[in-house]
């Protein structure tokens, strides 16, 4: 009987797949075309194989018919939500199909899939897919629990459990989510039931399962000790100790205390043993650093502990809000009548849109609740209940105002929206789990390491943080409570939201020009752009909206809080998932989505301590804004910009897009083609200018917002180990303009040599005197002191010496610093905040030389002290020339032809890239290219 039932289920499943496919193709066009295309392509292939399977299984065709009609009935109801649902169904069905497949091949081994290659690929795909499904189930369940819908969560878990194919995807941790819920409610019998389910599924309870059970017992005041002992015994049989529970579990809220209470009722003396799993760094390169630290002290920041704690509170409130609205620097511009009018219009419209979106969102949610006919299917409903409805609407409105006039690809837009929802959800989760209070207390204690008014420590931030976490072990665990959403989920959710926006946001077409017919037109539209033979879904704003936004020049900008620098020292990285911001999730390693292998490898990495510690060191550096420079930059920015100084001009400076009537017979075909090209160029130029302008606007506005504050940049890395500040717009790795606006928060007296270094730095920034010795550079600086002081005193109307430098803005900042220093009563006591750069020459070769203890090499790449900067490229060119002369003398034709052409420039690129693995072939091409560039070279 059971087998018959299984078979029936399987055939249902097959139909489901087919149906999902049909739905998928019919569903409305608002979808991220590329990934969807890929999915559908994948699915097509599968469907083909599927059909073969289906034929095999067609033993009881009668059962299929009712199944099909049922399925189509569902389809009729779900049209509104098809796009998302189809995708859901697709995911689930894919996995189910595979299950049925494995069954079939089990049953008749003779009919195994044909070729091994296919099976292998299938295997790999299966593995990846299973992870995705597991993750999706987990996220779904967690979302249900988060929104407090116990009934829905329980029903969902049971339905997953009942469907055999799904049951295979479930892990103990998924069951544990539900156990936790019942533990909070103190209903022990429900937990017992889940233990039975676990057994049915052939899974073993793990530490978290027992922890939930015990927690539940701890919550029940009159739970008989006998029950607790039995539970502990059972746990022992499973090979788990009580210490394991405390060591390995991730606790939320008061779970840990309840667990301890339960344990202590039967073992009153029990205290969890705490050990810091301090595996020391294995790399011999850094071994000494970690072991010989008797004389090390961790440098103090120039803040008192109280000050740091106050700063923490500020940052916390910023992150709790998730978004920051700041004044745009353009707000300083005078307001014209038209601007006022446009701002009013926009505000009016926005209020209207807010209402419309709120209603649409509610309607969509209603539809979703009603159409969820099958419990085991995942839909988006719980993800739409994580935040207040109004918050979703705010996110939508925010993304409308941030949409560039040339539009954004649907995929990027959707992912952005999904991610924003996820971030908010994470922050809320942390609240719900009472992590904020704990974070506060640990951070408070952590500041002891950094503050100047506390005792000196010789531990690193990471070590201090871990120690504190261990000491304050009661309450929730700080790390690891949030599951990160799969990429597909972010996209689906985002697409759903975009769909609501596209369908509901409208504007009157006569709003700007009463001559037009009055009717409601959508402000966003979905279209395709075509890149070679691919088509990409795009969301574009209606020209009317763009015009309104540009003319209104709104005075505020809204950013995600993670875009801003932090107001307190960042949380030190202690694991690859924990560090940087206080509440906002951050990644240790930047990765493109889908690079799951990278992430897997990262998780397996045994000892990342040196990585954490380096990042923490970078992140702990405090910065502040160089106000005089910022003011000058903003004044130019708000005036007309300057291409020469790298300040993007406003769109009013853009070339006018020529208008012409293509029907006009006065133009010849080639004239028309020419004008058309011109229009295209003008449009391209405009959109480039717009994006540059916006980028600069963001940077300067953030800098302006931060002008009186001290701040920190949390850092992370890419897979190569290059470090980056997390805030994307305004940071010290940016262009000349942004770098010039930043100085260190903590100043130091210049001392006897400081002023000289400032001068040398200035000469370096100009790009002149590259061949001179340091002394030569210093002398040059002294010889042009008049220009330097003039630049500092009258940057815009004086001799403008600084404008000719390679890095003009930093040069100007340096001029001002030098001016201030020399005019101070005692330059050696002048407190400077100014960063002075040190640069390498051909860094790859420097490493090679150092690793090889190569004295000659080291000298030529400036690793050995030398009077004048060495130039390795000239050296190589010289040697090549020597060999060439010798070959030429021997009568080698090529060598003779090359006479007089071996220059520094010819060899430079190849020398530089040879250490990064350029091949012989590639090197040959590089040299060929350089030679071709020489005009006199015989072709």
């Amino acid at each position: 009987v059971l087998e018959a039932r299984i078979q029936q289920l399987q055939s249902d499943v097959v139909l489901d797949v087919q149906h999902a496919k049909v739905q998928f193709l019919k569903s409305p066009s608002f979808r991220p075309s590329r990934w969807m295309e890929k999915l559908s392509e994948e699915k097509k292939n599968k469907l083909k194989k599927q059909q073969i399977l289906q034929q095999k299984m067609q033993r009881n065709p009668k059962e299929k018919l009712p199944g099909k009609s049922k399925a189509s009935r569902t389809a009729a109801v779900t049209t509104a939500a098809t796009s998302s649902k189809a995708a859901e169904a697709l995911k689930t069905s894919k996995q189910k199909r595979r299950d049925s497949k494995s069954k079939v091949s089990d049953k008749d081994a003779t009919n195994k899939p044909e070729d091994g290659d296919l099976a292998e690929i299938e295997e790999l795909e299966k593995r990846l897919n299973e992870q995705d499904i597991q993750l999706s189930i987990r996220c779904y369940l967690e979302a249900c629990v988060f929104m407090g819908d116990v009934e829905r969560s329980q029903r969902f878990l049971l339905s997953q459990h009942r469907v055999m194919s799904r049951r295979k995807q479930l892990t103990t941790d998924i069951y544990n989510i539900m156990m936790r819920v019942w533990a909070k409610k103190g209903t022990l019998n429900q937990i017992g039931r889940i233990f039975i389910l676990l057994e049915e599924a052939g899974l073993k309870p793990n530490v978290s399962s027992y922890s939930a059970a015990l927690e539940c017992m701890g919550r029940n005041k009159n739970c008989p000790p006998k029950v607790i002992s039995r539970c502990l015994d059972q746990m022992k049989k499973d090979g788990l100790s009580v210490d394991d529970l405390f060591r390995e579990c991730v606790f939320r809220q008061d779970e840990r205390d309840m667990l301890l209470k339960a344990v202590q009722t039967v073992r009153p003396d029990y205290e969890p043993s705490l050990t810091l799993n301090a595996s020391q760094s294995s790399s011999p390169l850094v071994k000494d650093f970690y072991t010989n630290r008797d004389h090390h002290t961790y440098p103090k920041l120039d803040f008192t502990q109280e000050d740091l704690q106050r700063r923490f509170q500020h940052q916390l409130s910023v992150e709790q809000a998730c978004t920051v609205t700041i004044d745009s620097v353009e707000a300083m511009k005078p307001v014209t009548e038209n601007m006022v009018k446009m701002r009013e219009l926009l505000a009016e419209q926005r209020a209207q849109w807010q209402k419309v979106l709120l209603q649409a969102l509610r309607e969509n949610k209603m539809i979703l609740t009603k159409t969820n006919t099958r419990d085991y299917k995942l839909n988006l409903y719980p993800y739409l209940c994580l935040l207040e409805d109004k918050e979703y609407v705010d996110i939508m409105i925010q993304s409308v105002s941030n949409l560039p006039p040339s539009g954004e690809s649907l995929k990027i837009l959707a992912h952005d929206l999904g991610n924003r929802i996820y971030t908010k959800y994470c922050v809320r989760q942390k609240h719900q789990n009472c992590i904020v209070e704990k974070l506060q207390s640990i951070y408070g204690a952590y500041t002891e390491l950094l503050a100047k008014d506390t005792k000196v420590c010789n531990v690193l931030p990471r070590e201090q943080w871990c120690k504190l976490e261990m000491e304050q072990s009661s309450g929730p665990t700080l790390q690891g409570a949030e599951t990160s959403w799969p990429y597909v989920l972010m996209l689906e959710l985002g697409t759903f939201i975009v769909d609501i926006m596209v369908k509901n946001l409208k504007i009157n077409s006569d709003i700007l020009n009463p001559a037009y017919d009055k009717k409601l037109i959508p402000i966003l539209y979905h279209m395709y752009t075509f890149r070679s033979t691919r088509q990409v879904g795009f969301i574009k704003p209606h020209p009317i909206l763009t015009q309104m936004q540009q003319e209104a020049m709104e005075t505020t900008l809204t950013f995600d809080s993670s875009v801003m620098p932090m107001l307190c020292p960042p949380v030190p990285w202690t694991s690859e998932k924990f560090g940087a911001y206080l509440l906002t999730p951050a990644k240790l390693m930047r990765a493109t989505h889908g690079a799951t292998q990278h992430e897997e490898l990262l998780e397996k990495c045994p000892n990342l301590h040196p990585v954490f510690d380096s990042l923490n060191q970078l992140s702990n550096c405090a910065w502040r804004v160089n106000k005089p420079i910022l003011d000058i930059i903003i004044s130019i920015f708000n005036d007309r910009g300057s291409d020469k100084l790298d300040i993007p001009p406003p769109l009013s400076e853009a070339p006018k897009i020529p208008h012409f009537n293509p029907q006009d017979p006065d133009y010849t075909a080639s004239e028309k083609a020419h004008m058309k090209r011109e229009v295209i160029n003008a449009k391209k130029k405009c959109s480039e200018m717009h994006s540059l302008r916006m980028d600069a606007l963001y940077k300067l506005s953030i800098a302006h917002h931060m002008r009186d504050k001290l701040f920190w940049f949390p850092h992370n890395m890419d897979f190569r180990g290059r470090t980056y500040p997390c805030p994307p717009y305004f940071n010290h790795l940016g262009s000349d303009v942004t770098r010039a606006t930043l100085v260190f928060a903590e100043g130091k007296p210049l001392g006897p040599k400081g002023l000289d270094w400032l001068k040398i730095h200035l000469v370096n920034l100009t790009g002149l005197k590259k061949r001179s010795s340091l002394q030569g550079r210093l002398e040059y600086a002294d010889s042009i002191m008049e220009d330097i002081l003039d630049s500092a005193d009258d940057p815009l109307n004086g001799k403008k010496w600084w404008m000719e430098a390679d890095e003009p803005w930093q040069a100007l900042a340096c001029c001002m610093e030098i001016a201030n220093a020399v005019r101070s009563p005692d330059p050696t006591k002048f407190v400077s905040h100014f960063p002075v750069h040190q640069d390498g020459s051909c860094n790859g070769l420097q490493h090679y030389a150092a690793l090889g203890r190569d004295v000659i090499g080291a000298t030529s790449v400036n690793l050995m002290p030398c009077e004048v900067p060495q130039d390795v490229y000239s050296g190589v060119a010289q040697q090549v020339e020597e060999l060439r002369t010798r070959d030429a003398a021997k009568g080698l034709k090529i060598a003779q032809v090359l006479e007089g052409f071996i220059s520094r420039k010819v060899v430079k690129q190849t020398v530089m890239t040879v250490v990064y693995g350029v091949t012989r072939y590639g090197g040959r091409l590089q040299i060929e290219k350089r030679l071709k560039e020489i005009d006199e070279f015989p072709k």
Partner: protein
């Protein structure tokens, strides 16, 4: 005139052992002569020798080496050849077998556009032996009018230069076909090339400035099937097919298995991912319709038509009415009823001529000219949009 090359007739038809198994459908043309041919008969050359030369080409491409096949192709182009005004552009003749066959068949003026320098000397030698019936140009027809602004040097060329050098002047659209092009559609990026050409056709740019240029191209069977797919074939009914069907009378002249052609050495294996059969190369005639620009469509508003068709057919299973309403709210049902189409018709079920009529209606209506569709076109002219 090259009388020295005149050789006994028997050799011309002697079948090569390597090609003996070939099944040529039109073997009947063997030995036929154009009675009109005023010139000495040109020998098509040793098959073995031509084969060797073709295979030595470094660029992956197909050649006609077999004299019988060359004659068949020539016959298809012949009927109008008596008319001295029609010029034949032969793209990439290679060893020149088809070139000679065309001349033998009575072509009055053949222009050989060869991209590969290695074939030029022999072609030029042939040119010098004739009396102006053949002109050889180092040029790649499929790379005429490049988009970028780099340095243009042969074989890349601008149409103006080519046509001016050849002394061909612009003619009206409704005039007779001034030039017939014969050649192989490049296997690599064939679709892109077809799209580029159809855009040029609608906007009367590139060669189409000079009139209704007729293409006679060898297209692989799969691409041909897609080109000719009809509404309802949701997978293959795409914008490029619709546009070609709208613009041209398309006729399949001849179908020939791949084996009959010679491939230069670096042949990449034909991938067999698609379900469509792909065993032949099809000689397809694409003759632009004389009445294309007669009712409302002009080269200047054609870009909007291109845009419209591409947007519609990006997905074939969406309702046309939804698309129309996106462009201009509430106008969809009116337009559809004017066209006599059902309200719920899918974009993949609309015939090419219906799209043309739809566009003509839209272009007349004030509502649509206000729509963003018109704003978009200029961004999408050439570089993008070969989709």
């Amino acid at each position: 005139m090259g009388p020295s090359s005149h050789q006994p007739r028997s050799e011309r038809t002697s079948p090569s052992s390597t090609l003996a198994h070939r099944n040529l459908s039109a073997a009947a043309v063997q030995g036929q002569f154009r009675p009109l041919c005023r010139y000495n008969y040109l020998d098509l050359g040793e098959v073995e020798e031509n084969l060797r030369r073709a295979q030595a080409s470094k660029i992956m491409r197909h050649f006609i080496v077999n004299p019988d096949l060359a004659n068949v192709v020539a016959q298809h182009l012949v009927p109008d050849l008596q008319d001295a005004k029609t010029i034949i552009f032969e793209c990439n003749p290679g060893p020149g077998v088809l070139t000679k066959a065309l001349l033998n068949a009575g072509a009055q003026r053949v222009v050989a556009l060869e991209r590969d320098r290695t074939f030029l000397p022999d072609l030029q030698e042939l040119e010098s032996r004739l009396d102006g019936q053949l002109e050889v140009v180092h040029c790649d027809y499929f790379r005429l009018d490049p988009i970028g602004n780099g340095n243009v040097k042969p074989p890349t060329m601008f149409t103006d230069k080519l046509f001016t050098d050849l002394g061909i002047s612009e003619s009206a659209w409704t005039d007779d076909v001034p030039v017939k092009v014969v050649g192989f559609l490049p296997e690599r990026n064939g679709r892109g090339t077809l799209l580029k050409m159809v855009y040029a056709l609608f906007e009367r740019l590139s060669v189409y400035r000079y009139g209704r240029i007729e293409l006679n191209l060898f297209i692989n069977e799969r691409e041909y099937t897609k080109l000719m797919s009809r509404p309802g074939e949701m997978i293959f009914y795409r914008a490029f097919g619709v546009l070609w069907q709208m613009a041209c009378d398309i006729q399949l002249l001849h179908k020939e298995p791949w084996e009959s052609f010679t491939v230069s050495s670096r042949q990449s294996a034909r991938n067999s991912k698609s379900k469509l059969p792909n065993d032949h190369l099809c000689l397809v005639r694409l003759r632009p319709r004389a009445d294309l620009f007669s009712s409302g469509l002009t080269p200047s508003n054609a870009s909007t038509l291109l845009m419209m068709v591409k947007q519609c057919l990006a997905k074939r299973k969406v309702k046309l009415i939804d698309r129309l309403n996106v462009w201009s709210p509430d106008s969809g049902s009116k337009l559809l009823s004017e066209l006599g189409l059902p309200e719920d018709i899918l974009t993949g079920n609309v015939y090419p001529d219906e799209y043309l009529r739809l566009f003509q209606l839209m272009d007349k209506s004030q509502e649509f000219t206000q729509s963003w569709l018109y704003e978009e076109i200029l961004e999408n002219t050439q570089r993008e949009g070969w989709g």
